[in-house]
């Protein structure tokens, strides 16, 4: 852990990249969550989360284990409802429209809000190329320029050079870091407006991690990214905004959301300061 890292050094890292003005070339007008609550059965795990994610920005979600970060991003693309007994309240507005509104096609929502999981999960029965294009097949979309799309997505995910000669190999034949970039490429192929990433680097080596962080910076030109991470350095390196979640025994709450350089240099809340300086959590 970064127990020795001082807030100022994290702030330096955060200041090292230019914080973007929102809404430049990104698709859509961003994402807002209004009063999100979540339950697993009777267990209230998330309470009243209000966060705005401007188009074309990267927001990092940080906080101790079990405070509901994963649950929160899974309410955004409606993956939360797959868990038996799971419930939610509140609104998730994508371009101003509630993704939970009656009559919404969930599969369309998930195409607009892509997701990369903690553990790389390429489809084992498909080749590398098929994996990248699997989203199109799964959502029954047709594209004319498959090869171009394939190259573009792998290029953007930073994997093209490593796999361009073996697109027919099985997805499982790649290393863990390569598999994760394959999963990013796969998420990109359906052209989401928003990309959710749940600890995408936690199973990876430092080299792969840096490559994925580069990828995230590039991607944020054209999409809105929300990334959960336990690595404060990573939050400082890649994100424009950071939100701190905490559960004090009860349901998880959002304690503070600020521009990343601010949250690491002058956090407003004492609990945030304790966390980012490594004094607990």
């Amino acid at each position: 852990m970064e127990t020795t890292t001082k807030p100022s050094s994290l702030a330096d890292v955060a200041n090292a990249h230019v914080q973007k003005a929102p809404g430049t070339r990104a698709l859509g007008t961003g994402l807002e969550t209004r009063g999100i609550h979540a339950w697993f059965g009777k267990n209230h795990v998330l309470s009243d989360i209000n966060l705005d994610f401007a188009a074309g920005t990267v927001t990092a979600l940080i906080g101790p284990s079990g405070c509901g970060k994963s649950t929160f991003i899974r309410t955004i693309n409606r993956m939360h409802e797959f868990i038996p007994g799971a419930a939610m309240a509140g609104e998730v507005l994508l371009d101003g429209r509630d993704v939970y509104a009656a009559g919404t096609d969930v599969t369309k929502i998930r195409l607009q809000i892509g997701m990369v999981f903690q553990k790389p999960n390429p489809f084992p029965s498909m080749t590398i190329g098929e994996n990248v294009l699997s989203g199109l097949k799964l959502s029954q979309q047709k594209v004319s320029n498959k090869d171009e799309l394939l190259e573009e997505c792998l290029e953007r995910a930073g994997l093209w050079n490593e796999v361009k000669d073996r697109l027919g190999a099985h997805g499982g034949s790649l290393s863990g870091g390569q598999q994760q970039r394959l999963c990013i490429a796969r998420a990109l192929a359906v052209r989401p407006q928003v990309l959710l990433m749940d600890e995408p680097c936690s199973a990876l080596d430092p080299g792969s991690t840096l490559r994925i962080e580069e990828t995230i910076r590039h991607l944020s030109d054209t999409m809105t990214i929300i990334i959960v991470t336990h690595n404060m350095q990573q939050a400082a390196r890649v994100s424009d905004y950071t939100a701190f979640f905490l559960s004090d025994g009860g349901p998880g709450q959002m304690i503070e959301a600020s521009p990343t350089n601010e949250i690491f240099s002058r956090p407003r809340d004492k609990r945030t300061e304790n966390y980012v300086t490594g004094r607990f959590g």
């Binding site: 693309n77 993956m79 797959f82 599969t107 369309k108 998930r110 195409l111 892509g114 997701m115 999981f117 553990k119 999960n121 390429p122 489809f123 084992p124 029965s125 498909m126 699997s134 989203g135 097949k137 799964l138 959502s139 029954q140 999963c183 796969r186 998420a187 359906v190």
Partner: protein, 329 residues
């Protein structure tokens, strides 16, 4: 560093041993006995059948498999004067009936397994699983009686329907006056018998489809059916084939149900709507009661052939499971 390493000789791999604990030894002995005993029993059955059937097999030679006569003449003293034994018709009947059964049962089972795992509400699933498991434990004579009393009277309608749309194929030629006791009827009865087995196996393997891949598919905007096609079926393919082969094995060995609904006729018949057929197991039960000692030897030989056929099918199943298993995972 590297030069030193290069000069050093590469050692031979060490022999890895471990001192097993006493409890481990006992357990190993128990499971080894269990594992070997099934092998030994199987071997003993094969030896018994070969031993008893050998005389007839030598007498008939290859004709035992290719001819369809089954006759034995004895003189007044009970000595065999002339005998012809051939099980071609029964072999064909065995294969035809069990293939019909699997062709009907496989899609039904796969779809019910998918329904149970991914569509049925929990309460309905519980009921259906109980019913299907119960069906698996039903004595086969009940299926036979059901086929006899319920299916046979109505089968003419189905047979006509099949003939109307598929009549151009020789398999489906219609012979109205004998259709009620045809391999098709036996196939349907067998299908219903093996549906529970194939459904259980498929359900089990489908439920093991990796959750993270299922979520990955949904997160990419997949509908449930698209997810099933992309994740669940590739994952379960080899298991389903294994289940189908298990069902095929049961259908091939089935005796009573086939005996109840089928006309045992010694005539090779590939037409599923013609009331001529039989299978090896039902031949044995038909003749066993009043067979002379020599005829019993012939029946043992038939049993041996059925035994070997089952082994071949299982070996084939294994081969298929292996070859599809690799691409499916």
């Amino acid at each position: 560093m590297s030069t030193i390493a290069a000069e050093r000789q590469v050692p031979a791999p060490r022999v890895l041993t471990t001192q097993p604990r006493f409890s481990d030894k006992v357990f190993r002995a128990v499971v080894t006995t269990g594992g070997l005993s099934s092998l030994i029993i199987l071997g003993l059955i094969a030896i018994f059948l070969s031993y008893r059937g050998f005389e007839v097999l030598r007498q008939e030679g290859f004709h035992f498999l290719t001819s369809s006569d089954w006759s034995i003449t004895t003189d007044d003293a009970g000595n065999v004067t002339e005998s012809h034994f051939g099980i071609a018709a029964m072999l064909v009947g065995t294969i035809l009936c069990s293939i019909i059964a699997v062709v009907i049962a496989l899609p039904v089972s796969v779809f019910s397994a998918l329904f149970l795992n991914f569509y049925a509400p929990a309460w309905l699933k519980k009921i259906l699983v109980a019913v299907i498991d119960m069906m698996a434990a039903f004595p086969s004579i009940l299926f036979g009686i059901w086929g006899f009393l319920v299916l046979m009277p109505s089968v003419e309608y189905w047979a006509k329907l099949l003939n109307k749309y598929l009549g151009f194929l020789p398999f489906f030629k219609l012979h109205p006056y004998v259709v009620t006791r045809s391999p098709f009827v036996a196939g349907v009865v067998l299908a219903i018998m093996i549906i529970p087995i194939i459904t259980s196996v498929s359900r089990e393997i489908f439920s093991q489809a990796p959750l993270d891949r299922i979520q990955a598919a949904y997160a990419l905007g997949a509908t449930r059916w698209a997810m099933i096609k992309a994740v669940v079926i590739p994952h379960g393919r080899s298991g389903v084939i294994g289940g189908a082969m298990l069902g095929l094995g049961r259908a091939m060995g089935e005796t009573v149900a086939v005996f109840t609904v089928l006309n045992i006729v010694f005539q090779v018949n590939w037409q599923m709507l013609l009331g001529v057929g039989g299978n090896v197991a039902s031949l044995i039960i038909l003749k066993f009661g009043e067979a002379s000692p020599y005829e019993i030897k012939a029946l043992m030989a038939a049993g041996l052939v059925l035994f070997l056929l089952t082994l071949v099918v299982n070996a084939l199943a294994d081969l298929i499971v292996r070859s599809t298993g690799k691409s499916g995972r």
